[in-house]
Amino acid sequence: MFEQTGLSLDGYMELWRIIAIVTGGTIYIFFSYRGLRLLKVGRISVLFFLRTVLLLIMILLIGEAAIKVQSYSKEKAKIAILVDSSKSMGMRSSDSGRTRLEAVMDFFKGNSEFMQWMGNNFLPEYYRVDSETKELSLDNASGIVPLVSGTDLKGALDYVRARHSPEDLSAVVLFSDGLDTEGMKETVSSYGMKYGVPVFTISPGSSAKKDVALLDLKSSGFAIVGENYHVEFDITMNGWKTLNVTVSLRNESTALLTRTVKIKDGETQRLKFEFNPQKGGKAVYTIEVPVYDGEEFSENNRLTFVLTSIVNTLRVMLLSGKPSWELRFLREAMKSNPWVDLVNFNILRTTVDFVNVPERELSLIPFPADEIFQKGLDSFDVFIILNFETEQFVPSSYLGKVVDFVKNGGGFAIIGGSLLSRSRYYAGTPMEEVVPVFPGGGDYKGEFGIKPAPGAFLHPLLAPFREEDIHLENLPKMDFLNAASSIKKWAVPVIVSSADNKPVIVAGSYGKGRIMTVLSDSLWRLGINMAADGRDPKLFNSFWRNALNWLSGARGMDNFIVEPESDEFMPGNPVRLRLNVLDRLYRPVKNGEMKIIIKDAVNEKIMKEKILSVEEANNGVIIESLPEGTYRVAAEIIKNGRTEETRTAGFIVRGKAGEMDSPFSDEEFLKNLAESTGGSFYRIQDKINRLPVKPGFIKKITGEKKKRIWNHRLFYFSTIIILSAEWFLRRRWRLG
């Protein structure tokens, strides 16, 4: 036990009193000096001294001065031991076979001299650090499993310092591989200089001798279909003198690019891969290098990213059997749509037409059936045939390409007219398969009104008809209707004739594609004829703008959607999937069963399977505990034990970038941190018996006594004596 004595001013010493006393005292001393300046220096000093003493006595009096005696004990200062327990600390050393965390635990167990030094001189506090910082009992430390992907070293250091005053904390000891995931590396020196407590960093060492790593991927995440997109990344190699590394890019199982790079030991090269997404939507891409002989760590041999490809320009192929108003207005609708890249071929004359001039005086070109059907069709998003009779111009065998086009996800529109009827809706050709109606009955050649088909009002094709200024009861009349005897089961009527509900527009999905048939060539009246009574003639154009989106399978226009809530999920967090199952008329489906299958996108291994009702699925699906990886979810609608429709989507489960990028500890970072705070850097295998930090102590007050002096008689007696002496001397030295 120790004691310390001091003066205490316990009176009413508010700030204003102190200021008043100090100001008054200063003025008093200043003027008293001016009054004394004619005297000799010795006399001035005596009087000045007496007056200053009087001023001090006044302060002590007002401050109710007392003598304070405190008793206290001395305690050891604290030392904070931070143990990195993030996922990277689970990497094993190729030499010892131990994980980095096990090496730290062995240090605590085996280095008794260090532990004794620490115990003798400090009060140690232990913390575990990953993405969060928590207190740790050394007894339980060996049970830590390094699973968390994320290391926030700055957060840990801030946390520890905030819990102690600077005198209280003598040092911080950090056991870590330095693989911080929160971007501390860039600011470590400036941060360390301001930290105020020395940090001693101890590296558990590296886990491999040979490694090829792909790092630091830069991808904007958004691409435009058909346009070049590039990603950049680093490739780094350690352990071989030189190595020819094959780097490949693939979209799920489809290889897109391969490049061989010659790289030297310790070298890092920045690589750029450029490719051209061909389809809209989200897809998971992987860049990878093989695992080379002697490479013990393969988690950094792969980079994955999700790319959302936007259809910026819809490529539309339009074939028209003859010039017509439908063609004229359809062309204008497409040409006025900045998102449409239209390729159009029209039959302007047939073999029976007599042009009266040599070919060279005509602007006509031969119909390029080969180019369209054999080579080019797949490069289009939507294929439209308008009142087109294929027989004269396209070999029947070519028409199978249209079926393939639709099955592979293309949009196909058939617009009516006399030639469609004459061709009997392509009956007897391979294209018959993708025509949503059966021919039959006679065409109707008179005026008729149109209206949404019963129950079809929510169909996306009718979105423009749902606008407020479109009065459905007052739409322009059509004037020709191709007859259809019935509709195929995979299609539904969307617009029908007002009087007798005959199908006018029929739509449906087939394979991965969508098909629409307009059984009239007078839809153009929804444009110019609307203007007859002062309405905006936009309906025809907006119908087609919207129809092209639907036909091309634009995002959000499908009646069965499965999509992860995020492109990436953290390991340990649930993967949430959004599902929306609508019927063919886009009304919510309540009945039925759905199967959710999660597969590893690399090796196709089924990771999870779940069967639930469609109604449950529409509320969202949660998949628990998927390890890090690239996944593909398939949602299947099951009817009568058979899979009726399937939709798929990709997602990634991965921890924070940087956590598992390298098998090597970032010792440079650890050194910078230690040196900038005034600490030192060590490797765990170094013989560390003690750290160069002086033992510190903290005073802990255990008791206090006070003896008042301001009200003591002697105090007042002394005041009178000093006042009297001052008065006496002034009189004697003939001052006023």
Binding site: G321, K322, P323, S324, W325, E326, L327, R328, F329, R331, E332, K335, S336, L342, V343, N344, F345, N346, I347, L348, R349, T350, D353, F354, V355, N356, V357, E359, R360, E361, L362, S363, L364, I365, N387, G417, S418, L419, D443, K445, G446, E447, D479, F480, D521, S522, W524, R525, G527, I528, N529, M530, A531, A532, D533, G534, P537
Partner: protein
Amino acid sequence: MKKKSIVIFAVIIAFSGAVHSMDIISWAKISAGGAGTDSRDAGIKSLIVEIMKRTNIDIDPEIRLVQVNPALFSFPFVTLSYNSDLRFTALEIKILRDYLLAGGTIFIDNPGGVRGNVFDLAVRREFNKIFSGVSFEAIPISDVIYKSFYLIKFVSGRVIAQPYLDGIRVGGRYAVIYSLNDIFGACAKSSDGGGGWEFDVVPGGEGQREHAIRLAVNIIMYVLTLDYKEDMVHKPFILRRESK
């Protein structure tokens, strides 16, 4: 009185003509501002036959007369050919403006074949009212109108009053096309049933007549396909043929 009854008859035809059959194009003439009764029906009828003979376009041989009222909007293409003065009412001007902005096209053929005649002055004055401040511009010979079917290098008609077509552009296309050269007159077959032509064509004779028919075919093809022949896929063919 006679004129009034003809107009009433024309209105009846126009409304009944709103019903077309399939992909057959209806030919309609404007009856407005006093125009419509004495235009070149014979020339139009011959032209329809020529167009159907030479191209894949089907046109109803019946020529409809349409007034400038809401019925006009059922005919995306109308012609105007008259030999006298022409004055549109304020309502007709508004309807014509709405019609042209909504996608309609008017082809005007001056049967007088003289620049500055009464009809020419009337057309320029009245269409200046429709699009105030916008007047006719010469359609350059490089325009797609001259390539829409035939590759045409010069403008023709019954006469050559002007070596180019005039036009008013609306939304990237010529919504009004005006010929001073009496194209319909060049196409008109004589009414005596002998198969001859009604008018002589000067100064170029029968070659000029053929070119007038080709120009008329191109105009109709342009109205139905717009700038189709400007599409990239056609350009190399057209350039190759034009260079020969």
